[in-house]
């Protein structure tokens, strides 16, 4: 399966041996160009500015900034980049969380080389890819009832600021994102919690101990 256009790939993993191994594998494929191999999410974000990667392969467990939070930041700053999680964790919670944060694919580190290539090609073509073990995990358990959809880190930050009485503009300035992005987050928060009004959001944040009533 070859593609006419080269896929620019950025790899982010804090284990040097894994990083080396994956680079070595990908370099043998002509239509894939590794534009960067870094060991922290911050470095990946910095590098993405200059290289505009098509696909970012991201580990979850990393010191400093976690891979999941990095996914959310990538989605905000580089919407054109597709995120492919590369992880040792095969539990459903990791996978569904990654999807919620905006990942397009999720593969386990122990999959075969050909599967890695297939995953890169799929997400680059705007598809979603889950490696076989991951798909099993997703199928094993249906969605949960009772627990509200968990908020992402960004959504929780936005809710906290909104509950403290900040306007969309203030929130945007505070988090260094666009007002539109803030609006999107607010919409998602309201949908997830099933709350329609700002007052309701504030009430919810107080009731659940996110902020103290005295604040």
């Amino acid at each position: 399966m070859s593609q006419p256009k080269t896929i620019k790939v950025l790899i982010c993993d804090d284990h040097p041996l894994v990083l080396e191994g994956i680079c070595a594998v990908l370099e043998t494929y002509a239509h894939i160009e590794v534009v960067g191999a870094v060991n922290s999410a911050r470095a990946a974000l910095a590098l993405a500015e200059t290289h505009q990667p098509d696909v970012v392969m991201m580990d979850i467990n990393m010191p400093d900034l976690s891979g999941l939070d990095a996914v959310e930041l990538f989605r905000e700053r580089f919407p054109q980049a597709r995120l492919l999680m590369l992880s040792m964790h095969d539990s459903r919670e990791y996978i569904s969380t990654a999807v919620m944060y905006g990942a397009s694919g999720y593969i386990l580190k122990d999959v075969s080389t050909s599967e890695i290539i297939a995953a890169i090609e799929t997400v680059a073509a705007n598809g979603t890819y889950f490696s076989s073990g991951v798909a099993d995990a997703l199928l094993r358990n249906g969605p949960k009832q009772g627990t509200p959809m968990p908020l992402t880190t960004r959504e929780q930050s936005v809710l906290l600021l909104v509950a403290r009485g900040k306007s969309n503009k203030d929130v945007a300035a505070h988090l260094d994102i666009s007002v539109r992005t803030v609006e999107t987050h607010r919409k998602n928060i309201k949908k997830k919690l099933g709350i329609a009004t700002t007052a309701g959001l504030t009430r919810y944040a107080i009731d659940n101990g996110l902020i103290g009533a005295a604040e």
Partner: protein
């Protein structure tokens, strides 16, 4: 001064003070009483002596009365007769009558004849008392008592003396007799000495009671301290042993898993790769199959490592938070046991301190282990709430048969390999929280609460941008 010494001082000091106060009071009162009775005794003795003197004087008067009445003022013959009678009147070694004329010249003194015929009007006793002059004055006044010091004939020593003097005015004579008071004073002095020795006895008695008492208090507190320390030591030893046991068990388990699982997979992979190498060298065509078998073995080892690592510390707790970790836990629990688990949790994460989060997770894990092993339940309900004022709460409810009988409770608390109820409680108490367990034949309800202090201080910086 440490706390123990302070407590001891607080216990002993009031005791000693109270005993001292009581002793002082008792001593003061008994002294007062004794002094009063001594002075009463002295007064009574003196009064008895006075009436005795009066009687003696009356007796002497009546002995000489007939002659005196009949005689004239210058009847020397009658005077001589009276002198003889009075000289011979006698009661005991120190009892006698004396006569001086109003000028102070001695006329009768049966014990001290050297006084006879000489004037003693200016004689003074050791206290400066003009003895004869005063006696004559009493006599002139019609009779009266006078106390002074005089040489006691029987002993030759100066002693207190009380005398009664009457006047024979016709002859200008003073007739007197006296008693020595040294026996009275000796008795009061003896009573005084008694009193002093009584006080001494009281003090010795009090000391004899107090000292053993203080000693007993000391001893008791010392024993208590010793016992407490021994108890604490025993507890510490038990705890240490428990920690060591748990650690050893855990190590043994990990060693077993490493050896039985990963080692075997790796060994198999190595054989497969060795085989592949041999095949490549000999140019055999089926080398790729052997290599794939090796890769499969390595993948098995990777899965094993992932499972063991997850068992040791669920990374999901740190990466995705308590809710996700509980979801993973209940999912695998439901899969393994077939027990239906309903989980209701909060939409937030990163609200609890990492250690507090771990504690709640371990409580849930332990509760589920207990339910699986003992409860025989079909449904479990786990609810996590986070309240504005009340902190975090984890409620785990099952419809099993509970562990109402003491046997099961003991088993849960101590012996089985897991953490046990006691450890759950310790974990909660460490954060100032509580663990509440209600068990009945219709199910068990476990409530773990953490206070607000177990929360992270919330800032908007959930995610550094």
């Amino acid at each position: 001064m440490n706390l123990r010494t302070q407590i001891l001082a607080i216990a002993i000091l009031p005791l000693v003070l109270a005993i001292l106060a009581i002793t002082a009071l008792v001593t003061f009162q008994s002294t007062q009483l004794a002094r009063a009775s001594i002075s009463t005794f002295e007064r009574n003795m003196l009064r008895a002596k006075e009436s005795e003197l009066l009687n003696l004087t009356n007796m002497a008067i009546s002995a000489i009365n007939e002659i005196y009445e009949a005689a004239g003022p210058d009847d020397e013959d009658a005077k001589r007769q009276v002198q003889e009678i009075l000289s011979s009147l006698d009661y005991g070694p120190d009892g006698y009558f004396f006569v001086y004329d109003y000028d102070g010249v001695n006329i009768v003194h049966p014990r001290q004849s050297f006084r006879h015929g000489r004037n003693w009007i200016d004689m003074e006793d050791p206290d400066g008392n003009r003895v004869i002059y005063n006696l004559i004055e009493r006599a002139k006044e019609g009779g009266g008592l006078h106390q002074y010091k005089w040489e006691k004939p029987s002993t030759g020593e100066i002693a207190d003396k009380l005398s009664f003097a009457v006047g024979l005015d016709k002859w200008r004579w003073m007739l007197g007799t006296g008693v020595y008071l040294d026996d009275v004073f000796a008795q009061t002095q003896a009573a005084d000495a008694d009193l002093r020795s009584n006080i001494n006895t009281t003090f010795i008695t009090v000391a004899a009671i107090t000292l053993p008492l203080v000693f007993v208090v000391f001893l008791a507190s010392f024993m208590l301290t010793l016992r407490e320390r021994r108890l604490a030591d025993t507890k510490l030893k038990e705890l240490t042993q428990r920690v060591i046991d748990t650690q050893e068990e855990e190590r043994a388990r990990i060693a077993r898993e490493l050896h039985d699982g990963i080692s075997q997979s790796m060994v198999a992979a190595r054989y497969a790769l060795d085989l592949a190498a041999a095949k490549v060298r000999s140019g055999a065509p089926d080398a790729p199959a052997a290599i794939e078998r090796g890769a499969k073995g390595i993948n098995g080892a990777i899965r094993e490592v992932r499972r063991i690592s997850h068992d040791l510390r669920p990374g999901i707790l740190d990466d995705l938070g308590l809710t996700a970790a509980l979801e993973a836990l209940t999912n695998s629990f439901a899969e393994r046991t077939g027990i239906v688990v309903e989980l209701k949790s909060v939409a937030f994460k990163n609200m609890l301190l990492p250690e507090a989060k771990t504690a709640l997770y371990r409580v849930a894990q332990e509760a589920l282990t207990n339910i699986e092993r003992h409860a025989n339940a079909t449904h479990v309900r786990i609810v996590v709430t986070s309240g504005g004022g009340g902190g975090a709460q984890l409620v785990i409810e099952d419809d099993g048969h509970g562990f109402a009988n003491a046997e099961a409770a003991r088993t849960l608390g101590r012996t089985h390999a897991g953490l046990g109820l006691r450890n759950m409680q310790e974990r909660m108490e460490h954060f100032g929280g509580t663990l509440e367990v209600k068990t009945a034949s219709s199910g068990t309800l476990l409530k773990a609460r953490l206070p607000k202090s177990a929360y992270v201080t919330q800032t908007s910086e959930f995610m550094p941008a």
